[in-house]
Each structure stands twice: as structure tokens, then as C-alpha cells.
């Protein structure tokens, strides 16, 4: 009878007192329920941000499916509670629980955190505390769950290395399953202990990084001296894992369907991984190399399956640079053959201006119009050459011309400020480009008559990221960034141009954490004690508070954020091998200062080194040796 369905979880009694209880309800169609007495390992997949953000993450959808495809493993979801829920949890002594079973995290075997951005680190620590687990790895006893981190931030996991037992570097679809299977096996054979297990994982599973197995020493000037492995049988550098064949890579048959509105509430069809472009500021463009595409047949089949499982009315083709997908027309033709009839609209993420065409717009604009976003990234051709963004003003004007002819009136442009070699004239260039777009609107004969155009100029702050040609560069100080924002604001006078900018304090902390080392764990721990959380949210971010913590812990943030790192300096992330070599990154950096662009991978291989990872259907062919075949 219906009584059986009563929500019996300990937390359910407080859900009447929080906003959006649907964040904590669980019970969505597509959630995986298993009998806990029949599984051999329980995995808690934690997303250290709100439900709405976490449920929009493609990686989480994939890994949840991959882990649950093994009948021995039950993977459940955990999100950061919103502050009102946290208050209730602390008031009523409710530990952090997984959505599916409602069981506390301490009952799990393995807890995985996906680290999508540096500003979520305080949420990770807060979640561990809410789960009543020791924060530091060394304090965890034999009956504590193993805590593993993954995601983009693990390309330099050092600031959080002391809080994690291990990290999975690279694509996790098979790695996390292997990791959990090893855990099950060692438990079954009675030879499990934390230390034995972590050592064996580091030794036998490629991509597993166990920070406690490396001794870090420092020079007198504060820079890293060396990373020394504690055993000879583990790799001295951890090579990232990739899926070599995307067509046969795991694809989830089910998707957990949120009832409450999430950020990306739509089908996300992952078209390819990697990017051929090589923009010099872009970490994703480097660490996801080499490019691997899925075939249109496979994508069409997967899209239909996703539609049948979700009923979503919108499908977004996801890729770092969708217009570089070699078979885009064939794919959109296949999809449009059924999506129109089912009232499903296609949308594309940010488009490259040099490949934007009328045909493309017509394909994606069917049923419902999608808003148009372009990312020129810099305001002058000189600076665009420095960052290797191979697009011109003409490309942009052509693209917006097509858009205006097609009835669009608003365009969003993404830029960055604080890039290496930037001067005032580059900032002027941003304002000029926006003005040119407005003028292009009025020149366009087919524009919507009687409507005003609107151009949004969104300017983020450049942050040097590991494994990019700009990884050695100093970020602008918050004061410099603020002065530039003020300057640009003064240059934008047209009311049709809307200027958006980012919090400089957040960028500063992000820059510290992005290139940080293990000594930053002191600051993060102090941040936890100070009650910091949701730092990625402007409403919670406390810049003065962070500065105070740096002073108290004796750490100089400028050492990490605003210092030019030495060419020969040992970098904290040198312990990771993401495929791309340091000599390539240095070559690219020199070319940046020479204002020389580098052809994209499809035009000409630049020998970045990522081809050694293998990968089917990529664009690094003959030139890159046999692995690429």
C-alpha cells in the first residue's frame, strides 16, 4: 500500500523548512536503486555545488551510469546542501546523506568528488565535515571510506592533495570502475588496508595519483624542489587516461531526470572530446587532447535513446568547438529528420565566428530560436594572434551579418581582460568591436525593421592555468583588473551595448588555487573553520575574509597568482602528465610573445605530444606516429 512509500529518511522532517525541497528529495525517474545487501561496493558520487548545477554536469551523468553498469557497484548522488539546508542539518544533527538510499556518507566504501572549478574547494571540505569524516587524509582510519577526486581541477590537485586519498587523472569512464573493482577484489581476498590498496591502485591502474606516495621538497625561495615517489614501482609521473574510441565508449542508457529546474535542463549530446584549436589561455583545449569524434550514426542513435528516456524538448550538441566537428552537416541532417516532428529544438554552445554560416543557423534555429554567442576573446588582431585565437574582425562581422539577416537582434560576445602583453589599446579594441557589431546591424538589409540591436559584452579575467602555454604568466593583480574594468566601462557609452564583468576578488583566489601547491591546504582548512562555502557564488564570496586567512596562515597569495614562474622551475603539477609536453608549451609561449599564430591540428600537427596517448579518429594522423592510427 501507499504507506510503504512514505519518505522515511531522517532528513525528510526538515524539508518543510527549506527552499526547494526537490533538491533533496531524490526519487527522480532514472535514478538507480539497488539492494545494498547485494552489492559489493557503495560509491557516493559527490558534486560540491548545488543540485541544480550538479545535475547539469555531463561528466556526472556518464560516470553515474558507468559505475552503476556494474552489478557489484551501487553509485549514488550527493550534492552540496544549500545554506538553509545546512543550517537544518547542523541544528538537528543530520549527517550528509546520499539521495538514493538516504544513507550517510560514512557508510559508503568510496566517496568521489568531481572538482569542476577551484572555487568549489571549500564546499568539498564542508561536505566532508557535514559527513562527519576526517578532513585530512592522514587522519582517516581503516574503516573510513576512500576519498577520490576527479575532474578538470585534478590537472593540478595539489592545493587539495592533503584532503584526498587519491585522484583519477583524465577520463574516468573505465578508470573508476577498475578502481572500485580493485577495492572489491582486495576486500574479498582479505588483503585490504588503506595503504595497501592505495599503493596497488597507483601501481596497477593508470591515471590513479596517490599524493601521499610522493614526498615534496621546496627550495629556499619557496618554489618546489622535487617530487619524490616513495616506491620505485609506481610511475614517477601519472599519465592521464583517455577513452581511445568514443564510438564504443560507455554511454548511459538512462539519465536521472530532475523534477526541479536545473541549469542545463536538456539533452546534452557529447559530439567529441578535445579541440583542434590550441588557444593559448585555454586549459580544456590542451588537457583534453587529442581530439576524438563520435560518428554521426552513433550520435544519432544515442540522441534517440536519450530522447526516449528523457522527453526533453531541447538538445544541445556539446563540444569545446562544435563547428570543428568534421561531420556537422551530416549529423544535423540526421537529427533534424526526426527532431522537428517531435518538437525537439537543437542548440549549439558558443560558435566560432569563422565557421558560422546561414546553413548552420537554419539548422539550429528550427522550431525555436537559440541565442547567439561568439567568443572573439580579445579586442585587437595583435592580441588575438598572441592568444592564438585565429579569427578576424571580418569573420565576426560576417557572422553577425548572417545572424542579423536571419532575424536575430541580440548577440553576446565573450572577451578576456588581463591577457599577457595586453595594453589599453586592446581594451579599446573590445569597445570598438562591440560598436562595429552595432553598425553591422544597421548596415544589414535584412534586419528586423523597427527593432534595436543589443550587444552584450561579457569580459572575464584571464587566469593562468596549468598545462597551457600561459601557465608561467603572472595574473594581473585585483587592483590592475579593477582599473581595467573601470577603463573599459568608460569606453562603452552606447546604451545598446551591455557590459558585464567578473568579480576580481574571485579571480584572484582562483588564480592562487589554480597554480597552488600543497602548502595551500592550510588556507583551505582555515577557510573551512571560518565557515566559507559556495565561494563560486558572489553572494557568499568574502574577499576580505580570504585575505585575512592568507595573512593568518602566513601565505602570500601573490606568490601563486601574480608571479611569473621560472622556465626551469619545477611546477607543482609536473607530477601529472596530460600528454602535452612542456617543450611544446614553451614553444607556444615563445610564439605568443612573437605574436605568431600556430595552425590548428587539422591544418598541421604541431607536435604537442598528446598523440602518444592514442585515440581513434583523431586529427593527429601520419605526422604523429603510429599510435594515432
Amino acid at each position: 500500500m501507499t504507506n510503504d512509500k512514505k519518505d522515511i529518511r531522517r532528513m525528510s522532517g526538515v524539508l518543510g523548512s527549506v527552499q526547494k525541497p526537490g533538491r533533496y528529495s531524490g526519487g527522480e525517474y532514472g535514478e538507480v536503486l539497488k539492494d545494498k545487501s547485494l552489492v559489493k561496493a557503495r560509491f557516493a558520487f559527490c558534486f560540491p555545488d548545488s543540485y541544480e548545477i550538479g545535475m547539469s554536469n555531463l561528466g556526472m551523468r556518464l560516470l553515474y551510469g558507468a559505475l552503476n553498469s556494474d552489478p557489484d557497484i551501487w553509485c549514488e548522488r550527493v550534492f552540496a546542501p544549500w545554506v538553509d539546508m545546512e543550517e537544518q542539518m547542523r541544528a538537528h544533527d543530520i549527517p550528509l546523506c546520499a539521495l538514493e538510499s538516504g544513507d550517510p556518507l560514512s557508510e559508503f566504501d568510496i566517496i568521489g568528488f568531481t572538482l569542476q572549478y577551484e572555487m568549489c574547494y571549500t564546499n568539498v571540505l564542508n561536505m566532508l565535515q557535514l559527513a562527519k569524516l576526517p578532513i585530512r587524509a592522514v587522519e582517516r582510519g581503516e574503516d573510513c571510506p576512500i576519498i577520490i577526486g576527479g575532474g578538470p581541477c585534478t590537472y593540478n590537485p595539489e592545493p587539495v592533495a592533503d584532503f584526498f586519498d587519491c585522484f583519477s587523472i583524465g577520463e574516468g569512464e573505465t578508470m573508476l570502475n577498475e578502481f572500485t573493482e580493485l577495492y572489491i577484489k582486495m576486500k574479498a581476498e582479505g588483503r585490504y588496508s588503506r595503504a595497501e590498496f592505495l599503493h596497488e591502485a597507483a601501481r596497477t591502474i593508470s591515471g590513479i595519483y596517490v599524493p601521499s606516495l610522493f614526498e615534496v621538497s621546496y627550495n629556499d625561495d619557496g618554489t618546489v624542489k622535487a617530487y619524490t615517489p616513495k616506491y620505485d614501482d609506481i610511475p614517477p609521473r601519472v599519465v592521464k587516461r583517455i577513452m581511445t574510441d568514443m564510438d564504443t565508449a560507455f554511454f548511459p542508457q538512462r539519465v536521472v531526470m530532475p523534477y526541479i529546474e536545473t541549469v542545463h535542463d536538456r539533452i546534452m549530446l557529447e559530439v567529441c572530446r578535445g579541440c583542434i584549436r590550441g588557444c593559448r589561455f585555454c586549459q580544456a583545449g590542451m588537457v583534453y587532447r587529442p581530439v576524438r569524434e563520435k560518428s554521426p550514426e552513433v550520435l544519432d542513435r544515442q540522441a534517440r535513446e536519450l530522447y526516449e528516456q528523457t522527453g526533453y524538448e531541447e538538445m544541445s550538441l556539446s563540444s569545446l568547438s562544435i563547428s570543428d566537428y568534421t561531420k556537422l552537416p551530416e549529423l544535423t541532417d540526421r537529427l533534424l529528420s526526426w527532431t522537428d516532428e517531435k518538437m525537439v529544438s537543437l542548440s549549439l554552445p558558443s560558435l566560432r565566428v569563422d565557421s558560422f554560416s546561414k546553413q548552420l543557423m537554419e539548422r539550429v534555429a528550427s522550431v525555436r530560436s537559440s541565442s547567439l554567442t561568439f567568443a572573439p576573446e580579445a579586442g585587437t588582431q595583435r592580441l588575438r594572434d598572441v592568444i592564438n585565437k585565429n579569427v578576424t574582425l571580418d569573420d565576426l562581422l560576417n557572422a553577425v551579418g548572417v545572424a542579423f539577416e536571419g532575424g536575430k537582434t541580440s548577440v553576446k560576445l565573450y572577451f578576456m581582460q588581463g591577457l599577457p602583453t595586453e595594453t589599453e589599446s586592446d581594451l579599446d579594441g573590445i569597445a570598438d568591436m562591440a560598436r562595429e557589431v552595432i553598425e553591422a546591424y544597421y548596415r544589414s538589409p535584412g534586419r528586423v525593421k523597427g527593432r534595436q540591436p543589443s550587444v552584450t559584452v561579457s569580459v572575464s579575467n584571464f587566469i593562468p592555468k596549468p598545462f597551457t602555454p600561459f601557465q608561467w604568466e603572472a595574473a594581473d593583480t585585483p587592483e590592475q583588473l579593477e582599473a581595467k574594468q573601470k577603463y573599459l566601462r568608460g569606453r562603452i557609452t552606447d546604451r545598446k551595448i551591455h557590459y558585464q564583468y567578473h568579480n576580481v576578488g574571485t579571480s584572484h583566489i582562483e588564480a592562487v588555487l589554480a597554480r597552488g601547491d600543497r602548502r595551500l591546504s592550510r588556507v583551505l582548512e582555515a577557510a573551512l573553520d571560518a565557515g566559507f562555502k559556495y565561494d563560486a557564488w558572489d553572494e557568499f564570496f568574502n574577499y576580505e575574509g580570504w585575505m585575512e586567512l592568507f595573512r593568518k596562515t602566513g601565505i602570500d597569495p601573490a606568490f601563486y597568482a601574480n608571479r611569473t614562474f621560472g622556465r626551469d622551475e619545477v611546477l607543482p603539477w609536473d607530477v601529472i602528465d596530460c600528454g602535452v609536453t612542456k617543450s611544446f608549451l614553451l614553444r607556444e609561449r615563445d610564439r605568443a610573445y612573437a605574436e605568431k599564430t600556430t595552425p590548428n591540428c587539422r591544418e598541421k600537427c604541431s607536435g604537442c605530444g598528446a598523440n602518444k596517448l592514442g585515440g581513434k579518429g583523431i586529427c593527429c594522423p601520419q605526422t604523429c606516429g603510429e599510435d594515432a592510427q
Partner: protein, 241 residues
């Protein structure tokens, strides 16, 4: 009975479309989903079920969904109603089964029939309320019974035009409160005015009891009050389906 896309396309086309009435359950963990979120999700549920939905004509085609009386968040129901237009002559059992193939037990279709009387005719609903509270006993049940059957029981009702005091006893009928010793809970069933002319939320009744009797004031992780809507009635006193 689950029909394939081909089988559905072979069914007779209906112009005008037919309207079916779906009775569905919303219970367990999904009681925490708001009416607005449910409305938004329903279009997707229907789409993934593969039903031959009739779309509105015009610039932004969408399915036509008409819900019965909105269910407050936190309340379970065994009798929610939804009218849906379909443009193929598909059997009612197929509609139910295809929906349930893409739903879970906590939110599922219980019955599908041809739509009858309009939802405005709904005037009352039965609720089962389970109260787990310190001090639950036969005497408490008797006190509740007494309180809900003797006028006046005045509460502050909030409406668009402001707050006003109202005696809710005329809106409460068929009261039965019993103490259930094996589960240590009080089981209360009531029929409350429900619908567009007069509406009394079950949670307002529970709040009135809480204020006057001091129940449900302990640890919220131990004490609870579970409200379930069981069935609707029309103005004629007959069950509304």
C-alpha cells in the same frame, strides 16, 4: 499495453483530438516536488512516454495539459487529476502503461479514462493524516476529534486581499481520529472543502492542532505529520473522477 511508434501511427487520427483524464499518484519522496515543477516536468513525461499528444497550433506549439486542484508541496496524493489531449484513438490502458513505463512508483498513473465533468465542480477532498508526535495516545485522538467537530476553530487565513480570521469548522467534515498503538501514531481522516470556491489546506488544519495542542513540536527528525489526499468529491457529494 505498450505501443510502438509505428503502431500508434496506424491508429485512427482524431480531429478534433480526444481528452483523456489521468488519475495519478504523487507520494513518498516525490511529495517534496512543487506543483509548478510537476507541471513543467509533465510535458517531458508525456513526450518520453511516446503518447500521440495533440499540440496547440501556432508559433510555439505545446501540449495542452489541464491539472485538477494543485497539490501543496509536501502533501501526498492518490487522486491527482490531469486532462490531456491526444490526436490518435489510443486505448486508455495503453496511455496508462506507456506513462508508467517512464515513471516510478512514487509518481505514476493509476487510471486513465475519458474526461468527464470539469475540474471546477470539485468541491471537497478526503485526506488521511498520520501524526507521529510525543504524547500520542487515545486521549489525544479524542481531543483532536473534539476540536475538529466543534465550532468555532478560528485560524488566520491568508489570501490575496490580506489576512483574515475564519472559522474553519464548516469546511471540515467526516472527522475520524484514532490512536494506533502499534505504530504509536494518531490517524486522522477528514473531508475538507477543496477547489475554487472554498479551499482549506490540510496543513492549515494540522497547524491549528499544533498551536492549540502543542503537538509536533519536538525533534523534526523523529516526529512527523504525513498528509495524503485520497479522493475528490463534487458538489453533489459524489466522488469526482
Amino acid at each position: 499495453m505498450i505501443l510502438t511508434e509505428q503502431q500508434i501511427k496506424a491508429l485512427p487520427y482524431l480531429d478534433p483530438p480526444k481528452t483523456v483524464r489521468i488519475k495519478f499518484r504523487k507520494a513518498g519522496r516525490l511529495k517534496h516536488i512543487s506543483h509548478l515543477d510537476l507541471q513543467r516536468s509533465m510535458a517531458r513525461i508525456i513526450a518520453r512516454a511516446g503518447l500521440p499528444v495533440w499540440y496547440t497550433k501556432g508559433f510555439n506549439p505545446h501540449p495542452k495539459l489541464v491539472f485538477g486542484v494543485p497539490l501543496p508541496v509536501g502533501v501526498e496524493s492518490e487522486c491527482e487529476l490531469l486532462d490531456l489531449r491526444l490526436d490518435r484513438d489510443i486505448p486508455n490502458e495503453a496511455v496508462r502503461d506507456m506513462l508508467n513505463a517512464k515513471l516510478t512508483d512514487e509518481l505514476c498513473a493509476l487510471e486513465v479514462r475519458e474526461a468527464g465533468a470539469k475540474f471546477v465542480e470539485i468541491s471537497a477532498a478526503d485526506y488521511s493524516i498520520t501524526i507521529k508526535t510525543a504524547g500520542a495516545c487515545n486521549e489525544l485522538a479524542a481531543e483532536i476529534q473534539q476540536m475538529l467537530t466543534s465550532s468555532p476553530l478560528v485560524i488566520i487565513k491568508k489570501s490575496k486581499s490580506g489576512e483574515k480570521e475564519a472559522d474553519i469548522i464548516p469546511m471540515i467534515n467526516n472527522v475520524s481520529a484514532k490512536y494506533c498503538a502499534d505504530e504509536d501514531v494518531v490517524r486522522l481522516s477528514v473531508r475538507l472543502s477543496c477547489g475554487q470556491t472554498e479551499n482549506l489546506n490540510a496543513s492549515a488544519v494540522v497547524s491549528a492542532l499544533r498551536e492549540r495542542l502543542g503537538i509536533l513540536s519536538g525533534d523534526p527528525t523523529v516526529e512527523y505529520c504525513n498528509i495524503r489526499r485520497e479522493r475528490f468529491y463534487g458538489a453533489d457529494g459524489k466522488q469526482f473522477v
